[in-house]
Amino acid sequence: MKINLKIWRQKNKDTKGSFKSYQLDHVSADMSFLEMLDVLNNELIHKGEESVAFDHDCREGICGMCSLYINGRPHGPQQTTTCQLHMRTFKDGETIVIEPWRAKAFPVIRDLVVDRTAFDRIQQAGGYVSVNTGGVPDANEIPIAKKVADEAFDSAACIGCGACVAACKNASAMLFVSAKVSQLALLPQGKPERKERVEKMVAQMDEEGFGACTNTGACEAECPKGISLTNIARMNREYFGAITTSYEVKVGGGD
């Protein structure tokens, strides 16, 4: 099949970017979307033009590294990661527009590559259970109902790609943050720190410049891992529970 591409090119974070058009004449329907870009890059290099930079790694839908905004939707027309999208989804002769994630908290590094370290900093603010290696109880010491474990898993399945932020008109990170808050709030191991955790993570999320949540649900609709809006509801409940009781936490220290 033939494909026309309009791709965002930007040298680095300090320069202005623009769209460039390309055409590929021999695209196989069995190619993954990223393989199609590999073919483009190979052609570009032979023409003496620098390849299009894009993030990718595992190419099996789990590392969360790929992050393309395709035809106005994060990861394209299907609810998958970009690497799992295949060219059979597109029509012969179609024009495909490819942009990087668009959010203030995710500055563009080059072309389609963005900086998502804000996500790491949110996790560092409290996305863990404070246990050291060793000295923990036997794994079967605390039974956890299957239903609870399954629900915690559903939240834990988040791959941290940032599609939720890219999909949101407010560039809110609520789905991402709430997935971790939910996982640990549901499990007995996470309960001792649940209040501090939600307060710290939300504070860090705000500091990073993500927008507020207005319950549009675009995040859930675009999440390649099906993380549900219920997580956001649970995080709101956790948060109000936390701030109305005795914990006082400031980001970067705590007192």
């Binding site: 190619m31 993030d55 259970v129 290696t133 191991q189």
Partner: protein, 639 residues
């Protein structure tokens, strides 16, 4: 050079306990005076960095991805073994040890493997305490399943995403130490050399992949947790970025490379669909618990999955069940892979001819679609997404693909390489899986090394090392920086006619053809010569555009491929030297009358450790004899 494995004396079950007592300790007040570099943040790296930070050391951790959470451990699907015996089905530390030694075809050290089995139980406790949501039974206790090659149910899992959940657990522990200031994290940073000062590893050289800046970092010890080298084959189940560069540069600085030819070919991958293919996707072999592997008895060229149901039972050959009645579809990976290849070589492959069926029709009939969906739902979805076929309705098609490398940097019992102060953990070392790794054992080994081995063994080294730091102004650092800069400039100046990927693909095809699922003397000799030619051509004709002081993905790839080419030659040397078949290494000249791998224990019961002797010089082979005091070497049989 005499290789000292430092396996402690004494009975197997007491070795590790005794060794831990004999290891020197670093005073708690002194720990903060030691800096440790950890390269790679997969299961081994993240768990090591977190645990060492908790102990009070200053840790600098590096990964080439944009976040430590992306390391390729995340893609492990099936599960993690532990000798918990929660199922009361006869498991024990000794049995896990025995299975691992046997599965590795008697080419691993008894002492290391026993320790691995011993600490496996602690890993599960640790992960549960971190909030890893393992699968559970209705009573609330942990669920287990049986997994490739094991006759007990000792595999813990989190749906088909066990690696993800374990890595996110280790990542959370790492994050906690980053927040505590005990770990400094460098993302989008690639290690390009190790720096040796007075014979000890004292630092690394990195390239900041965003700014292109070449940087020096000094420390008291360096841990390489940089994974395996399966991408030497270009097509593999590894992530695109997975590479051998850190390990290879360490090798060139004096670390011996152990058993490079031991490659694991995984039997259940999605077959190649065309020349554009950039990587292969694994379907967890847990699928073999319920799926039945078959091909038609008589060749049916081009048979499609949707037409499989029309083939009557009598005309199907469930070849694994037929040949190995006691293990059936659960034979170890190397056996399953070779048999699939054999069927296709006989012309009985399906689809493109390079595929066999993995059929769930019986399992769905027996347990219902809902049960199968609960167990494998995400894998079935993934299969459908990639191939466009629905595995609930028609069998999957699978074919073997490169998945894991058992070889790696040679390490002693303390995980130290032959360079003092330089350690290798996880898939980056050679130590625990012998010539073949059992399913669900990679996650176990990565976390064992990081959580429960290195925190003890590194203290023994550091306790004998002065706390003084070495300055990165020293000539050793400057020299290493100049060398890396030189390589960058060289690549940018070649301006040849072929892309990096074109060279990489060519190398991969060579390796797959001559040093893949089966190997022979003539083929390996041909490969060696072809790799040397490819190397010359690469350095003359590769085209890397752009500059060094910017994000330049072609440059990143070029540096990795340069190392893969050199490694490829060493793999071939190692495969040539080992004229026996063992585990994942199948030499056509050495097989039993019915085509099974035939070991030559009298000649090859050793670890092959290779020493770099200079650019374009033949490497020197050192042998570490393997001593078996507890296990009797037998011909593996899964019949």
């Amino acid at each position: 050079m005499k290789l000292d494995s430092k396996i402690p004396e004494g009975p197997l079950a007491e070795k590790w306990t005794k060794h831990k007592f004999n290891l020197k300790l670093v005073n708690p007040a002194n720990k903060r005076k030691y800096d440790i570099i950890v390269v790679g943040t997969g299961l081994a790296g993240a768990s090591a960095a977190a645990s060492l930070g908790e102990l009070g050391y200053n840790v600098k951790a590096f990964c080439f991805q944009d976040s430590p959470r992306r390391a390729h451990s995340i893609a492990a699907q099936g599960g993690i073994n532990a000798a918990k015996n929660y199922q009361n089905d006869g498991d024990s530390v000794y049995r896990l040890f025995y299975d691992t030694i046997k599965g590795g075809d008697y080419r691993a050290r008894e002492g290391n493997v026993y320790r691995l089995a011993e600490v496996s139980v602690n890993i599960i406790d640790q992960c549960v305490a971190q909030g890893v949501p393992f699968a559970r039974e209705y009573g609330g206790l942990l669920a287990n399943r049986s997994f490739g090659g094991a006759q007990v149910s000792r595999t813990f899992y989190a749906r088909g995403q066990t690696g993800q959940q374990l890595l996110l657990g280790a990542y959370s522990a790492l994050n906690r130490q980053i927040a505590n200031g005990k770990v400094t994290m460098y993302t989008r940073s690639e290690m390009l050399d190790v720096v040796i000062v007075d014979g000890k590893a004292r630092g690394i050289i990195t390239r900041d992949l965003v700014s292109g800046k070449i940087e020096s970092h000094s420390a008291h010890a360096v841990l390489l947790c940089t994974g395996g080298y399966g991408n030497v084959f270009f097509l593999s189940t590894n992530a695109k970025g997975s590479n051998v560069t850190a390990a290879w540069r360490a090798h060139k600085k004096g670390a011996l490379f152990g058993n490079p030819c031991y490659t694991q070919i995984h039997p259940t991958c999605i077959p190649v669909s065309g020349d554009h293919q950039s990587k292969l996707t694994l379907m967890s072999e847990s699928l073999r618990n319920d799926g039945r592997v078959w091909v038609p008895k008589v060749a049916r060229p081009g048979l499609k999955a949707k037409d499989a149901a029309a083939i009557p039972e009598a005309d199907r050959d469930y070849f694994l069940e037929r040949k190995y009645p006691s293990f059936g579809n659960l034979v170890p990976r190397d056996v399953a892979s070779r048999n699939a290849k054999q069927m296709c070589d006989e012309g009985r492959g399906v689809g493109s001819g390079l595929a066999v069926f993995l059929d769930f029709a019986d399992a769905i009939k027996r347990d219902g679609k809902k049960t199968i969906e609960a167990k494998y739902g995400n894998l079935f979805d993934m299969y459908q997404q990639i191939t466009g076929d629905n595995p609930y309705e028609a069998p999957m098609m699978i074919y073997p693909a490169v998945h894991y490398t058992m070889g790696g940097l040679w390490v002693d019992y303390n995980l130290m390489t032959t360079v003092p102060g330089l350690y290798a953990l996880g898939e980056a070392n050679f130590s625990d899986h012998g010539a073949n790794r059992l399913g669900a054992s990679a996650l176990m080994q990565g976390l064992a090394d990081g959580y429960f081995v290195i925190p003890y063994t590194i203290g023994d080294y550091l306790a004998g090392l002065p706390t003084e730091k070495v300055s990165t102004d020293r000539p050793e650092f400057k020299e290493a920086i100049d060398k890396v800069n030189g390589t960058v400039q060289k690549f940018l100046s070649i301006k040849g006619k072929k892309t990096v990927d074109e060279f990489h693909r060519q190398l991969g095809l060579l390796m797959w053809e001559f040093c893949g699922m089966s190997r022979n003397d003539a083929g390996l000799k041909e490969a060696k010569q072809k790799i040397q030619t490819l190397k010359t051509e690469f350095w003359k004709d590769v085209n890397v555009l752009g500059g060094g002081n910017e994000l330049n993905q072609e440059l990143e790839k070029a540096m990795r491929v340069a190392d893969f080419i050199e490694l490829g030659e060493l793999m071939v040397d190692d495969a040539l030297n080992r004229t026996e078949s063992c585990g994942g290494h199948f030499r056509e000249e050495s097989q039993t009358p019915d085509g099974e791998a035939l070991r030559k224990d009298d000649q090859f019961t050793y670890v092959a450790a290779w020493e770099f002797k200079g650019e374009n010089q033949p490497e020197e082979l050192h042998k570490e004899p393997l001593v078996f005091e507890n296990v009797k070497l037998t011909q593996r049989s899964y019949k």
